[in-house]
């Protein structure tokens, strides 16, 4: 018996065994948290349920159920100086007005300035917020509602890759140029320490028929994000939600922890 060769073979064999064991251990530790079979049955059931209620899906129901924490939002009260210094583009011709209830609105001081300097979204709609918005780097492009190069672009503040519905900025666009833009309340967002598993999108969608009145309806898009609702306090909790956009533009937000309807989109 060639001991050297035997050893090599044994090393390989035990390596394989160890990897199998580690894999099994990993599966075990993960526990039975992913009930994929249950999930598939669930999605099927929900789809049938929605179809029977004449609600159709243009997008596949997402199957991921990550663990998400609550977000803490703290109101930032800033004056226009702070805002200006925080924006990448600090142009004197931009007029910034702060309304504690409404938010921050930006516009050009006069038409000439606007014509000269207004941002052309052909340069990239997503980049607009980074330059022209207070704490714009936290914002991402959410929706473009343009017809003939005129309309609105909605941006949402985002955290960790998830959009926060309710903390938005809207840019009014005419002929591809941003004429004025608004930003509702700005908040500092931090995440809580503990993350909890969220309801699957399928489960959340179950409650939709009771909340939706129009039939037939078509679901265009299902997002996972957070929902911010202005509270009177200085800091408040922001729960994760499943955001559902219908074909007719309506948006629902269903709390991803409890399955309750957080609200319909109030604007737009």
């Amino acid at each position: 018996m060639d001991l050297s060769r035997a050893k090599t073979i044994l090393i390989i064999v035990f390596l394989a065994l160890n990897s199998i064991l580690v894999h099994q251990l990993y599966l075990k530790q993960k526990g039975n948290n992913d009930y994929t079979a249950l999930m598939e049955a669930e999605i099927q059931e929900v789809r049938e349920l929605l179809n029977s209620q004449m609600i159709y899906l243009n997008e596949e129901i997402p199957i991921e159920t990550p663990e998400l924490p609550f977000l803490n939002a703290e109101r930032i009260l800033s004056n226009s100086l702070e805002i200006r210094s925080n924006m990448l583009v600090n142009d004197e011709d931009i007029v910034i007005s702060i309304d504690p209830g409404e938010g921050i609105s930006y516009r050009w001081i006069n038409n000439d300035a606007m014509q000269a300097k207004a941002y052309n979204i052909e340069n990239g709609a997503a980049d607009f917020v980074k330059q022209y918005l207070y704490k714009g780097k936290n914002y991402t492009l959410h929706q473009e509602r343009l017809q003939n190069n005129t309309g609105q672009i909605v941006y949402l503040q985002q955290f960790n890759g998830y959009p926060i519905f309710g903390l938005s900025a809207t840019a009014n666009v005419e002929n591809n140029r941003v004429v004025n833009w608004q930003q509702n309340i700005v908040a500092v967002i931090t995440a809580e320490d503990t993350a909890r598993p969220i309801l699957a999108a399928a489960t959340a969608l179950r409650s939709l028929p009771s909340k939706l009145e129009e039939r037939p309806a078509t679901i265009e898009r299902i997002w996972l994000g957070y929902y911010n609702r202005s509270m009177e306090s200085d800091s408040w909790l922001v729960p994760p939600v499943w955001g559902i956009t219908l074909a007719n533009g309506e948006q629902f937000y269903i709390n991803a922890f409890t399955g309750e309807l957080e609200g319909l989109q109030e604007q737009n």
Partner: protein, 484 residues
């Protein structure tokens, strides 16, 4: 050299595999902990569970028997209950406008008054001076509206006050339902069935009193809906004979006149259990300390704000659909009751005392529930505001609740008194200035007197209110004004 390394590697691998196997075999994954059931109990002896019928009641039912004397039955008494039960069995139809108390008909009213020959008496008794009013109006000291209001209110009062009715309507054998405030017709519909078509007529009208009486002339039983501006009449589907019988029966029963003075311990609400109850996911509640030292419990959408200083609880639930729903009072009140039931927010008996309209277009209403004790409402005063629960409804769903952080806890009855009669109370009030000349409402209620931090005493008192706002309270036994 290589052999040596191989040996070491092999040894490590073997040892690791044995360790892994034993781990696999013997260890179990950590699972999330099982959450205990959470307590949502409020003080048990006080928590109640109410149905719609329990809440939707008039403040008092007055029965006029043959002798013309009024008997007041308060909620809780058998007469009251029986009468309410009977009321649920009847239905009203053919509603039409009976009297318009607005400006156009004012002269008619005063004419009627004069014609009734009651003018002087009224003037003497109630310090009414229409002429004065007219003069005042002409002099421009009071607006026309005010005049109208005063007169119409007075008229209403006249009509309503005991013993002063135009002869057009005999008050014999009538049942009158008194409400704490003007209520929409749908509300009344919850107690007495009204034909759907007729409901429409009374839509958006507020009714202060409902009187069911046997019309002497027509021998029919009729119903009057008495509001601030208008009076509507309707037919009741019950025979006169039956009605009279009922009234006689009811009024024949004894009504105790004695009222108790009761002392209570102030029982604080269990905030934790309440929050466990109101939030959809109690494990996700966070506490936020506010600048004004109130604590907010929130789960991101709903919020429960506890203000220890003012001893108030405010619950907000902004997740109500903003889609406009048709106003549906039964549904609305049901939802409010259901909410309060669920969260064990009752501590005692309550009546829905007021429905405030915030915005009809947006279907925003405020329901006010008043705590009752022995049939008498407990008034809300600064030192003790727990008698009231205010529920703001939007689109027929609870969107806000305001109440006190304290209940009435254990009770010790200290004494019982016989309250003054209404007429006597009125006489005392009349002698005061500043009250006359305006319509007022006088009713018996319990007045909370705060003895100290822990105890509260409820005394029966006559409450004077004008335009649905509290003016003064008078001790029911002595007639003295209660000042705090």
């Amino acid at each position: 050299m290589i052999e040596h390394i191989k040996n070491i590697i092999l040894l490590c691998l073997v040892v690791v595999s044995v360790i892994l196997s034993s781990m696999l075999w013997y260890s179990t994954p950590d699972y999330a902990p099982l959450l205990d059931v959470i307590n949502i109990d409020q003080p048990e002896e006080k928590a109640g569970y109410y149905q719609l019928e329990d809440i939707v009641k008039p403040r008092a039912i007055k029965l006029y028997a043959e002798d013309g004397q009024a008997k007041i039955a308060y909620p809780g008494s058998t007469v009251f209950i029986d009468t309410m039960d009977w009321l649920r069995t009847i239905s009203i139809s053919n509603i039409e406008l009976y009297k318009d108390l607005s400006a156009a008909s004012l002269p008619a009213a005063s004419e009627q008054l004069e014609a009734a020959g009651e003018a002087n008496r009224l003037a003497n008794d109630n310090e009414l001076n229409i002429n004065q009013l007219n003069i005042a109006q002409q002099q421009g000291r009071i607006t026309e509206q005010d005049a109208i209001q005063q007169v119409s209110g007075q008229y209403a009062n006249l009509l309503a006050s005991e013993g002063h009715l135009s002869k057009e309507h005999s008050i014999e054998h009538s049942i009158e339902l008194e409400f704490l405030s003007g209520v929409p017709i749908e509300y009344i519909n919850m107690m007495i069935a009204i034909e759907n078509d007729d409901l429409y007529i009374l839509k958006d009208k507020l009714v202060e009193r409902v009187r069911i009486f046997a019309d002497e002339e027509t021998d029919k039983v009729q119903c009057l809906f008495i509001g601030n501006d208008e009076i509507f009449s309707g037919n009741v589907n019950v025979t006169k004979r039956r009605f009279v019988e009922l009234v006689e029966d009811a009024s024949g029963q004894e009504l105790t006149q004695e009222k108790l003075i009761i002392e209570y311990t102030k029982q604080p609400i269990r905030v934790a259990e309440l929050s466990n109850s109101v939030f959809a996911d109690p494990t996700a509640i966070r506490q936020i300390q506010e600048k004004d030292q109130s604590v907010i419990y929130t789960d991101g959408s709903r919020g429960l704000r506890i203000n220890a200083l003012r001893q108030t609880i405010e619950f907000t639930n902004p997740t109500i659909s903003s889609r406009f729903q048709e106003v549906n009072f039964p549904e609305m009140i049901d939802d409010a009751i259901d909410f309060l039931n669920r969260h064990q927010s009752w501590a005692g008996e309550y009546i829905l005392s007021k429905i405030e309209v915030e915005s009809k277009a947006n279907n925003e209403y405020t329901l006010i529930f008043q705590q009752h004790m022995q049939g008498l409402p407990i008034v809300n005063v600064n030192s003790f505001n727990s008698a009231e629960i205010r529920m703001k409804m939007k689109n027929n769903k609870v969107t806000r609740m305001n109440r006190s952080t304290t209940y009435l806890g254990e009770q010790t009855i200290t004494a019982s008194i016989t309250p003054l009669l209404k007429e006597d109370m009125q006489a005392i009030i009349d002698r005061r200035t500043g009250i006359s000349g305006k319509p007022y409402d006088l009713f018996l209620a319990y007045y909370p007197l705060s003895l100290d931090i822990e105890y509260i005493k409820l005394r029966p008192a006559w409450i004077l209110s004008q335009n649905n706002s509290f003016v003064a309270a008078f001790d029911a036994q002595t007639g003295q004004e209660i000042r705090e």
